[in-house]
């Protein structure tokens, strides 16, 4: 269970990006976070694994308070949190297998990491997961030889190699074409069910959020202003989340046209 309470993040002296934010995720649901650019979605995700330092508040994952961890304790907590990125963030010059195994770096010895002597269990798990997402035949290819959708699959497998207790996805489909994008969303939903893994996805595509996730959280100016099942996201809620933004204006145009 992930429980966020009174989370505040302020960059410099300006207006906070996250304002006393509270969010609880129980069970293995797929939760999407929508909101216009600058609403604080990415900051929220990065506060959870501390790529961004929260200013105040509390984030508890399965009983561990994450906000005050340092050094080794922080690294051990991060091992339990997988993350998938918009631009995949693979190491281009390494092979797919090395990229996938880099998800295990928090567990294996430095010597094993440098010599690429991965434990047999890890190699077996890597092949299983790569087989599951359809990239096993690329194991020896360099990551930059793959297409966007394949690269994101490598990113997903790398995160799953961590045996995470939660998976964070920061706009995992924003760099992909519509078809590939739906495939990745479907994959994340299916993997969540198979591995009993809660997944938290930042997403701009509201259609995909409705289609592939169990719960939608709407953010605006650092606050959660909508939190319900996809069915409850009506036009009025959309307007509140996106009011004054180009996305809402486009939606208005479409409504009038139809």
């Amino acid at each position: 269970m992930l429980k966020i309470t009174d989370l505040v993040k302020r960059y410099g002296g300006g207006d906070p990006v996250l304002k006393d934010l509270g969010l609880t995720i129980e069970g293995e649901s797929v939760v999407s976070i929508i909101g216009s650019s600058g609403a604080g979605k990415s900051t929220l995700l990065r506060c959870i694994n501390r790529l961004v330092e929260p200013t105040s508040g509390s984030i508890v994952l399965n009983g561990t308070e994450l906000t005050r961890l340092r050094g080794r304790h922080l690294r051990e907590a991060r091992r339990k949190i997988g993350m998938v990125f918009q631009s995949f963030n693979l190491v281009d010059r390494l092979t797919v297998m090395e990229n996938v195994q880099s998800g295990r770096l928090g567990y294996i010895s430095t010597w094993a990491a440098i010599m690429r002597r991965y434990p047999k269990d890890d190699i077996r798990r890597a092949y299983e997961l790569m087989e599951r997402v359809g990239i096993a035949h690329y194991a020896n290819k360099r990551a930059d030889e793959l297409s966007g959708g394949e690269r994101q699959r490598v990113g997903v497998v790398r995160a799953l190699m961590q045996k995470p207790e939660i998976l964070l996805a920061d706009e995992p489909t924003a760099s992909l074409d519509p078809k590939t994008s739906e495939q990745i969303m479907g994959l994340l939903r299916d993997l969540s069910r198979e591995l009993k893994l809660p997944v938290l996805i930042n997403i701009h595509n509201v259609h995909e959020a409705r289609e592939y996730t169990d719960r939608i959280v709407g953010m605006r100016y650092g606050r959660i202003i909508f939190d319900d099942a996809p069915g409850a996201l009506d036009q009025e809620a959309m307007d509140r989340i996106y009011s004054g933004s180009p996305a809402a204006d486009r939606a208005d145009g479409l409504r009038q046209a139809s």
Binding site: N89, D92, R93, L94
Partner: protein, 267 residues
């Protein structure tokens, strides 16, 4: 009313004021060059005499004297070894220096300045000056030459490698930090692969430069082919000097070929 409707047909890249400023800068540069030329004392008679002297020297150098070719080639090989050994050590020693001198990897502000201090010290002193220093310390011979070239190369390689580290794509670094990997493992997996091509390119380039530099080390007694060249010139043995110069030319061309080949193979 728009500019087009007004029938504007004049346009200038600079305003009058900017043009005047530019002319002033040009004039200042021209003055500086004129002053520099005037302040050095050139004995023009010697300059006009140069073609005759050149012809004379060439006449005395021709034909090159190959009697000592065996010795020349042996010492030339020693020169190659000086360059290669020095480059190898310098490249290894430059790694930690580059790590310290790159803003995104250095542990703290103090180590950053330590790294930069090492780079500046190494780079601001010419190889020949380092050689003079190490000849005084180690005595004449190739050890002084190797250490001198090494000291100069650490700064060069460290500086370029440090800049390569600063220019890497930071996103994979972020991704691996998110997996809970330690600092060292993040460097090994996200930074090292990204700077590898630069590392090899810089190492090969420096070896190429060191090959040329090691040919003059002998002039200050730090080993290599320069000693024979100095000896030949001092004894007015111009035909042997010509032979040595040809040998150096051949070596440099060979070095160029080898480094081009290595570059193609490795990078």
């Amino acid at each position: 009313m728009t500019l087009a409707e007004m029938g504007r047909d004049d346009w200038a890249r600079f305003t009058l004021r900017q043009r005047m400023q530019r002319y002033a800068v040009f004039a200042a540069c021209a003055l500086a060059v004129a002053w520099a030329l005037g302040s050095i004392e050139i004995i023009w008679a010697w300059v006009w005499d140069a073609p005759v002297q050149m012809g004379d020297l060439f006449a005395r150098m021709y034909p090159p004297d190959p009697t000592n070719l065996g010795t020349i080639l042996r010492v030339l090989w020693e020169t190659v070894n000086i360059a290669t050994i020095a480059t190898a050590f310098a490249v290894i020693l430059a790694l930690p220096v580059a790590y310290l001198a790159a803003q995104n990897t250095t542990p703290n502000q103090a180590t950053l300045w330590l790294g930069r201090l090492i780079l500046v010290t190494s780079r601001s002193v010419n190889t020949i000056i380092w050689a003079l220093l190490f000849v005084a310390i180690f005595g004449p011979g190739i050890i002084a030459g190797i250490v001198a070239i090494m000291f100069r190369s650490i700064g060069f390689v460290g500086k370029l490698l440090g800049e390569a580290i600063e220019e890497i794509d930071k996103r994979p670094v972020e991704a691996l930090e998110a997996t809970g990997a330690s600092r060292f493992k993040v460097i090994a997996y996200a930074i090292v692969p990204q700077v590898m091509p630069t590392f090899w390119a810089v190492a090969i380039l420096r070896w190429d430069i060191n090959l040329r530099e090691s040919t003059v080390l002998g002039l200050v007694g730090a080993g290599g082919i320069g000693i024979i060249l100095q000896g030949a010139i001092d004894t007015f043995n111009w035909r042997e000097a010509a032979m040595v110069l040809l040998a150096i030319l051949a070596l440099v061309i060979l070095g160029e070929i080898v480094s081009a080949w290595l570059r193609r193979r490795i990078i």
